[in-house]
């Protein structure tokens, strides 16, 4: 009884492996009570996520500084100079580095489309996709539900870009596939748009993650999509 209850929760939380998941779904198909219990839990979970208070940190906490030593001021003057130099350096490097990245993500998008290997985990449920990704990546990418805005989540796959494993969230709009590449990176940046080989590309950085959006969708809709995605982060 208790083991079964635990399994139900593990199933809903996306913590069962594929085989156990299928087995549980088969059990549910034959057991209306189990199905109902599952539905109730799903609703409860949705209610908690939708209605429980989320307490953002007060501004004061954002001002908690790293403890400063006595020589801090002296060091910080040097640090400032170094930072400016470093900043200029990285700015120039980034300008040069962004373009190969655009090539990489567009290539991945095309490869996936051609090879038909767009999706490793097919689900429109963000609470299925996210745990699947976090179980396989050294970070946990945010997965946003944009179905209200006409972008259905179709699933996700793993890929390799920018010299590291990345998450690719796959959304669909009509017949168009929208790939969202996500990986952790410091800094924030606004949405900037470009095009490559006939594909539209948008990129931005939010909340410790970098996002590259690639699709054959028209410019306007892709920009809308990027704005929605950025706004939810």
């Amino acid at each position: 009884m208790k083991a079964e209850e635990n399994r139900l929760h593990a199933y809903l939380d996306g913590e069962l492996d594929a085989a156990a998941s299928l087995e549980f779904e088969a059990q549910m198909a034959e057991n209306p009570a189990l199905r109902a219990a599952c539905e109730r839990q799903r609703e409860l979970s949705a209610a908690i996520r939708g209605k429980a208070d989320y307490h953002p940190a007060p501004i004061r906490l954002y001002r908690v500084e790293q403890p400063a030593s006595k020589s801090f001021k002296f060091i910080s003057a040097f640090a400032l100079v170094a930072l400016v130099a470093f900043g200029l350096g990285t700015l120039l490097t980034f300008r040069a580095a962004e373009d190969p990245l655009a090539r990489e993500v567009v290539a991945s998008h095309v490869r996936a489309t051609l090879g038909g290997r767009l999706i490793d985990v097919a689900s429109s449920d963000q609470h299925t996709v996210k745990p699947w990704l976090s179980a396989r990546l050294p970070f946990s990418p945010p997965v946003t539900d944009l179905s209200q805005d006409g972008f259905e989540l179709a699933g996700a796959r793993l890929d390799y870009a920018a010299g590291q494993p990345v998450a690719v969230l796959v959304y669909k709009r009509r017949q168009h596939v929208v790939d969202v590449f996500v990986w952790p990176a410091a800094g924030e940046s606004e949405i900037s748009a470009s095009a490559r080989d006939g594909f539209n590309v948008a990129r931005f950085a939010r909340g410790g993650m970098r996002y590259w959006v690639v699709s054959d969708l028209n410019r306007n809709e892709l920009d809308d999509f990027a704005r929605l995605l950025a706004a939810r982060r």
């Binding site: 929760h9 908690i48 940190a57 996210k130 976090s134 946990s140």
Partner: protein, 162 residues
């Protein structure tokens, strides 16, 4: 500091008031800085583990009664599931009160799972318990919550007898 909100949210749910949560997080941040050169690159579970420990130390010092063990002392409740619960109709305030009323060990796994969307593995690391315990605490937390909400949600019938 990308995970500061997550840190504060956890502390706020564990201490149940703004002022103490702020103190605890501030202390945890200073501790975190000692290990990490700035928090920008610090992974969320790592920071949350530090915050969680700070919260439990604080509870130990200030409200030890809240820390009594919850595992193993389960009354086998074979009561039927909360049939009356239509979770989507649950009032926001009641839901928050019911979560706040859960034992702290249940509250923490629930908050980490539902509000931070962490995996069992990360929750196990943060709460320093085995994954199996995460699973059973989570299922008991949700059951208690469902039962509590049902009780609160159906007061008219109870009131008749008073």
């Amino acid at each position: 500091m990308p995970h500061l909100d997550a840190a504060f949210n956890l502390a706020r749910w564990l201490t149940r008031n703004d002022h103490d949560a702020e103190d605890v997080v501030q202390e945890a941040l200073l501790r975190a800085y000692r290990f990490f050169d700035g928090l920008r690159g610090a992974p969320r579970p790592w920071l949350l583990a530090i915050v969680r420990n700070a919260c439990f130390s604080w509870l130990q010092a200030n409200r030890p009664a809240e820390l009594h063990a919850v595992d193993g002392m389960e009354q086998e409740s074979d009561a039927p599931g909360p049939e009356a619960l239509a979770a989507r109709d649950v009032d926001r305030r009641r839901l928050n009160e019911a979560i706040a009323a859960l034992p702290v060990q249940f509250r923490e796994v629930l908050v980490l799972r539902e509000l931070e969307d962490l995996t069992y593995k990360d929750i196990a690391r943060i709460a320093e318990i085995p994954i199996g315990t995460v699973m059973s605490r989570l299922s008991r937390a949700r059951r208690q919550l469902a039962e509590a909400l049902r009780i609160i949600a159906a007061p008219p019938r109870l009131r008749v007898h008073k």
